[in-house]
Amino acid sequence: MYSETVMDHFTHPRNMGEIPNASGTGTVGNAKCGDIMKIDIQVEDGIIKDVKFKTFGCGAAIATSSMASEMVKGKSLSEALKLTNLAVAEALGGLPPVKMHCSMLAEEAIRAAIEDYMAKHPEQP
């Protein structure tokens, strides 16, 4: 049911973990629907230098967290904000239709982490 890319990211998640004293943190989802994602970002000169995630969720949720973290690493904040769950799903070689809702969280978590960073650094554009 899952593509090879999904299974690869699920089995070998990239950027799994936490950043101590991260510049921004976003936590989205809730235990009720079964997926929770937390993303830490380290921002330098408007660029996401490092990103780490932790996810409580199914195979799709873990794989999208991993893929999304790869897709925003090294990107500017404005580029990272353009990331959509569809782009992540596409990069994963597609997700089963019932799993699309699990992929929304990655986009939301990255946005929440960037918003958290912006709120802490109002001087930044």
């Binding site: 089995t11 799994m16 009720k32 629907c33 079964g34 996810t55 969720g57 195979g59 949720a61």
Partner: protein, 387 residues
């Protein structure tokens, strides 16, 4: 690497003896049991034999059992058939919140047709109390349906006690015994049930084959209209190989039920104790002793069930979970919520269901790999802060 199949509650492998019994009826021994000629008479004889095997296995008379297309049809027929046949007497039905969807969704539909349903409470182990049932019965009550064994948490309901109570009140009693057949001894007279559903693929028989016991004299509307098969109560040309398979499978499963149950109970206890002692923050779901011999259901905090199943699958172990992400809905299992688990804990449930093919080394191998998998998923979980 040989695989370890621990999902016998979902389905069981067909017994080779059952398959051998069926094969001729898929080939040379074809025939329509309604036909007058030799092929037809042979088919009728095979159906009669299977009916006797089935009846003997559950303590019924051959005239009280009807072949169906599976557990789901049997549940639909029992509930809809009894409800509509007794509509003049009343429209109240009593059941439980932990039934299989084959019962729950049928009851939803009956509610739309004007019937009212009371769902009895269950305790933290999933048990129904006879005193609650007694209080719920009204003069309007026409039918009570309580499952014999729960498919997720394995809890065995006190069917005999409930059956006696319901019979005394002159109300019909149905039990979904799909998980019970072949796992525990089943006797329709001892249990005092009026209707009982079963499904062949749960006891090493073929898929798409089930039966409904209807006690003599109990009136139940038809569900499937058409020809005069099954003494005019369930139309459609008999599924000859399926029926032969069901007969052969139930005879074998119920013949060896006691030895099998004792063996599986020992394996089950080893698995439960092994998991609970090796992995912190786990709990057993379902009753500790009144449970299906092969059923293990454990909640593992801070991790989600589907991720766990995928990792177990990669390690060669087939299991199941009550998490939302394995059901295609946003809600975790209604059974786990009904016994009082919070959503996060329900999402992290693992069901391991043992069967006749399992050996001690399967349990040992599972206990060897599970803790490591749980640890690595917990390390990934934002809910787990101790790691």
């Amino acid at each position: 690497m040989s695989r370890i199949y621990l999902d016998h509650a979902a389905t069981t492998p067909m017994d080779p003896d059952v398959l051998n019994a069926m094969l001729p009826y898929m080939g040379a021994r074809f025939g329509n049991a309604s036909s007058i000629h030799a092929e037809g008479r042979n088919a009728q004889r095979a159906v009669d034999t299977a009916r006797k095997q089935l009846a003997a296995a559950i303590g019924a008379d051959a005239g009280e059992v009807y072949f169906t297309s599976g557990g789901t049809e049997s549940d639909n027929w029992a509930l809809k058939g009894a409800a509509f046949a007794n509509r003049a007497k009343g429209t109240h039905i009593i059941s439980t919140p932990i039934e299989h969807h084959a019962v729950l969704h049928t009851l939803d539909w009956l509610q739309k047709q004007g019937f009212t349903v009371t769902f009895l409470p269950v305790d933290g182990d999933g048990l129904v109390k006879a005193s609650d049932l007694e209080r719920a019965i009204t003069p309007e009550t026409i039918l009570v349906s309580v499952m014999a064994a729960n498919n997720e948490i394995g809890t065995l309901e006190p069917i005999q006690e409930l059956g006696a109570l319901v019979r005394e009140r002159g109300v019909l009693f149905h039990t979904d015994a799909v998980q019970a057949i072949g796992a525990i001894p089943v006797d329709v007279r001892e249990w005092q049930v009026d209707m009982l559903s079963l499904s062949a693929h749960k006891f090493h028989g073929p898929m798409g084959m089930g039966a409904l016991y209807i006690r003599k004299g109990v009136s139940v509307e038809r569900l499937v209209h058409g020809g005069a098969q099954e003494r005019g109560r369930r139309a459609s040309t008999e599924n000859l190989p399926g029926i032969v398979g069901l007969g052969s499978a139930i005879e074998k499963a119920c013949g060896g039920v006691c030895e099998n149950a004792a063996r599986l109970t020992a394996l089950r206890e080893k698995l439960i104790q092994g998991i609970l002692s090796a992995i912190p923050e786990t709990r057993l779901n379902g009753h500790p002793t009144l449970r299906l011999p092969g059923n293990v259901n454990i909640s593992i905090r801070y991790i989600e069930g589907e991720a766990l199943l995928l990792r177990l699958d990669m390690a060669g172990i087939s299991a199941s979970s009550g998490s939302a992400c394995t059901s295609g809905s946003l809600d975790p299992s209604h059974v786990l919520l009904a016994i009082g688990l919070d959503h996060a804990t329900a999402h992290g449930s693992l069901r391991l269901s043992l069967g006749t093919g399992n050996q001690l080394q399967d349990v040992e191998q599972t206990l060897a790999v599970l803790p490591g998998i749980v640890e690595s998923l917990r390390a990934m979980s934002p809910l787990y802060t101790r790691g």
